[in-house]
């Protein structure tokens, strides 16, 4: 079957995505505003189309577009957002006068036929924010070009040279050999001021105050999210980070795949970090899509099930699902689960007020039963605590009164389950969740914490101590930490009994 991939964006990043998509034998449908850099009969470009909303799941997304001919619907197998980012001049440009240009505008000047040769050119990096590697890469090469073509004094002011790519480190070394003077300035010491036909650049280089009279100042641009980014994240149901770029700031999303299966983000729209290896990311993404589509199968062993008769269409699950895996049924008054999108985290089941959603066994499984007195019940997230315990094989040696249960995500815990535990005689319940920003299901741990707070309040009203329920953050690689947390929760119960 021919797979067709929707690519959003018409810049270099989108072109790279389109090339990668056709390179693995798929078709691309690209939407954007203005011209598209490549022509290929496997790439359909729709100028002026904008995305309205999407339905469906990997393999069959229904994408609805606004076009000049009205609304259009297309079926696509997967979606790549490659909208790029805006390059805006840094804030010092406002005060720098007319001798200041940005990195972006310098190439046009270098290519101009007529110009007055400057005596001294100052490059400035890191004026607003600590610029990324891509800025050092562009800036150093521009400085070398200026030095070579105009033969003037070239100063390159920065806070850090971001040379973690060998090509940049190499260019940095060559530039110094060619006579570009690199100076590191201390934070907040930089000022750029027009003065008598020149521009005065003053700063502290960690030893003293220095000022340079420049004929031209070249300043790095700052990467900002495009205005459409935040509305696109909502339409696509994917994450945004606190700087306004695509993708959650989460340990589980360092790659191009997003929280919604089948939707990917590549390039500058992910922020400066997305710029490190765009062509590599594009190739990676295209292969990932193709391999998944060729043999489409669910990713979770157990997925959510909805009881059609109980569902009251309150849409709570829709708001909480981190993976866009729920939708309103076309023919029944009920929610339905997308089987390929559901990742089995059980968050929907925990938040459903009608108790209409369940995973098999509510997503829980016993890892160790308590023998004898029930004292401590521990819920272990299978993404962290369970892995830590599996790695050291110590479960059997925990005290007899400890019962361990695994869960797909701490967000799957229902308050009712814990109340049942307390009725069953457990003196304390310990929930071992993942650290914030390290939840495989984005916010499952944070949602759980909120619910637990409410539960603790209710329990306190009933005369049950708040610390009957304890929540702790753990990580898979720290086995000793997990063991110690279980033991200390258990021993704390012992102390109360002794008193």
């Amino acid at each position: 079957m021919q797979h067709r991939i929707l690519i959003i964006g018409n810049g270099d990043d989108a072109a790279m995505a389109a090339r990668a998509v056709v390179a693995v034998g798929m078709e691309a449908l690209v939407i954007g505003e203005g011209a598209f850099p490549i022509a290929d009969d496997r790439v359909t470009y729709k100028d002026g189309w904008t995305l309205k909303h999407i339905e469906g799941q990997i393999g069959a997304f229904e994408a609805v577009f606004d076009t000049s001919d009205g609304e259009q619907t297309e079926t696509v197998s997967s979606i790549i957002a490659a909208t790029g980012a805006d390059m805006v001049p840094c804030s010092l440009m406002n005060s720098a006068g007319d001798k200041a240009v940005s990195f972006k505008d310098l190439p046009a000047l270098l290519n101009a036929k007529e110009y007055t040769l400057p005596m001294a050119v100052v490059f400035i990096q890191d004026a607003d924010v600590d610029d990324g590697q891509w800025v050092s890469a562009i800036g150093i090469n521009l400085a070398r070009q200026v030095r070579k073509m105009w033969g003037c004094d070239v100063y390159y002011l920065c806070r850090f040279i971001r040379g973690s790519h060998f090509e940049v480190e190499n260019a940095y070394r060559m530039a110094r050999a060619e006579g570009v003077v690199f100076i590191k300035y201390s934070k907040d010491s930089l000022a750029v001021m027009p003065a008598e036909g020149k521009t005065t650049v003053s700063f502290n280089d960690y030893t003293q105050e220095i000022s340079i009279q420049a004929d031209m100042v070249v300043m790095s641009d700052v990467l900002k999210p495009q205005t459409q980014t935040s509305s696109l994240t909502q339409k696509l149901g994917i994450g945004i980070n606190h700087e306004g770029f695509f993708q959650y700031d989460n340990a589980y999303y360092p790659f191009t795949a997003t929280n919604r299966r089948g939707v990917y983000v590549i390039g500058a729209c992910k922020g400066p970090a997305g710029l490190n290896d765009v062509s590599g990311d594009a190739a990676y993404t295209a292969l990932d899509i193709k391999i998944q589509l060729d043999e489409l199968r669910p990713i979770a062993d157990v997925i959510a099930e909805i009881n059609l008769f109980k569902c009251s269409l309150c849409l709570t699950c829709l708001r909480f699902c981190p993976h866009g895996a729920l939708h309103v049924s076309d023919d029944m008054p009920s929610m339905v689960v997308y089987d390929m999108a559901c990742q089995g985290c059980g968050i929907c089941g925990a938040v459903c007020p009608a108790e209409a959603i369940n995973l098999a066994d509510n997503g829980k499984a016993l890892m160790k039963e308590s023998s004898g007195q029930k004292r401590l019940k521990v819920y272990c997230c299978k993404n962290s605590a369970k892995k830590a315990l599996d790695a050291i094989n110590m479960v059997a040696q925990l005290p007899q009164g400890v019962e361990l249960a695994e869960m797909p995500c701490s967000g799957s815990i229902k308050p009712e389950e814990l109340v049942n535990d307390i009725y069953a005689g457990f003196q304390r319940i310990l929930i071992l969740a993942c650290y914030s920003d390290a939840c495989r299901h984005v916010n499952g741990n944070a949602d759980m914490r909120r619910q637990m707070k409410a539960l603790q309040d209710t329990l306190a009203d009933m005369g049950i101590a708040r610390d009957s329920i304890v929540v702790m953050d753990v990580a898979g690689p720290s086995s000793d930490d997990v063991l110690e947390k279980i033991n200390s929760a258990y021993n704390a119960i012992g102390l109360e009994v002794a008193l």
Partner: protein, 356 residues
């Protein structure tokens, strides 16, 4: 031999069972492609399996948690044949039909027949003996980045195992064995700023009164949202000193002295610390020449491996830090990309032979 869509296929040999090798193996095995992993050490997992989580009250995105699935999936996988304590002796044949001779742990030799080979031999940390003047191995409170990584794994809710109450001032020395022309490493090791800055935050979280100083040349990108990283750390009270220390000596009272140039004073100063952590860089694996010889590979300017010709023509792929410095997430992405190229090749072949 195993089946993929009904066709009997030769498998893939992966040289090196670190995070790159195992990530690729996991991915291939998920597509039911038989995999052989050869690792010269006693266990798979390479270096990454010993790294620790660096979370404070929040995750710092060192990505160690992502590796855990991999180790679990690779062990006891019916598609993966693991040979530890084994060496590759020779490799003959062509794409689609390589015969590789392997010496097993018990000294016996075994020939395996594979279609593709992934060389994922990883790196070796910079040998700190070359910088004896930093006192590594001589003073007990001079540690290196790998030591701290491994000790972080043993953290408990209240303590980090390598810190004791006598430690009040701690220094990180960056770029030890990286960006160092004299030491034939003119490149940045890419990961040291990231791990050292994260470790500093972990230590600060447990012991907020310890004063932490970084001696640095440039602070590199740390990954993720990074533009405010440095400022946030300065806000924590971390000190950043733009200087490359020349020596670490033991002080008379048993502490350590870092000798470095103070730019503002324009003179060499001796500053006292209780512990020094050397952020050692990434070097090509110690057996890089041998492996290059066996599989007919080339080198890049820094001595890391580089393929000869196009991968798709030879069927010999490189993955992870064998190619140059990379962090955990990049190594995993790289290995997955290689595995996916191979999977796509297999499927194309299966379609061509009419079974899929």
């Amino acid at each position: 031999m195993n089946s993929l869509g009904g066709v009997c296929v030769r498998g893939v040999l992966i040289v090196g069972g670190g995070i790159s090798g195992c990530t690729a193996a996991d991915m291939l095995a998920q597509s039911h492609i038989p995999v052989y992993i050869v690792d010269k050490s006693k266990n798979i997992g390479g270096k990454a399996i010993n790294y620790g989580c660096k979370a404070t009250d929040t995750c710092l995105k060192c990505n160690m948690c992502l590796t855990q699935d991999i180790w679990q999936n690779v062990n006891d996988n019916r598609y993966i044949d693991i040979m530890t304590g084994a060496d590759v002796l020779s490799c003959q044949g062509d794409k689609g039909d390589y015969r590789v001779m392997i010496r097993l742990e018990d000294g016996l030799e075994r020939e395996i027949n594979v279609s593709y080979i992934i060389v994922a031999i990883g790196f070796q940390p910079y040998d700190l003996k070359n910088k004896g003047f930093f006192g590594y191995g001589l003073y007990k409170n001079v540690l290196d980045g790998l030591d701290v990584e491994q000790l972080l794994k043993q953290r408990t809710p209240e303590t980090l195992p390598f810190i004791n109450p006598s430690i009040k001032k701690l220094a990180f020395l960056q770029c030890v064995g990286s960006r160092d022309v004299q030491d034939k490493a003119p490149y940045c090791s890419k990961v040291c700023c990231a791990y050292a800055l994260r470790m500093g935050q972990t230590i600060h979280h447990y012991y907020p009164n310890i004063e932490i100083t970084y001696f640095y040349m440039d602070i590199q990108e740390v990954g993720g949202v990074f533009s405010d990283y440095y400022d946030r750390l300065v806000g924590n009270g971390f000190k950043f000193v733009l200087s490359r220390p020349v020596m670490v000596e033991e002080a008379e009272d048993g502490g350590l002295e870092v000798i470095h140039e103070d730019l503002a004073k324009a003179s060499v100063v001796r500053e006292k610390f209780d512990m020094v952590i050397l952020s050692q860089g990434i070097r090509p694996a110690d057996d890089v020449d041998y492996i290059a010889d066996v599989f007919d590979l080339g080198y890049d300017a820094n001595g890391f491996l580089k393929g000869i010709g196009r991968w798709s023509e030879t069927g010999i792929y490189l993955a992870g830090t064998a190619k140059g410095p990379m962090n955990i997430a990049d190594s995993m992405a790289d290995a997955r990309r290689v595995a996916m190229e191979i999977i796509t090749d297999y499927r194309t072949a299966a379609i061509a032979s009419g079974v899929m």
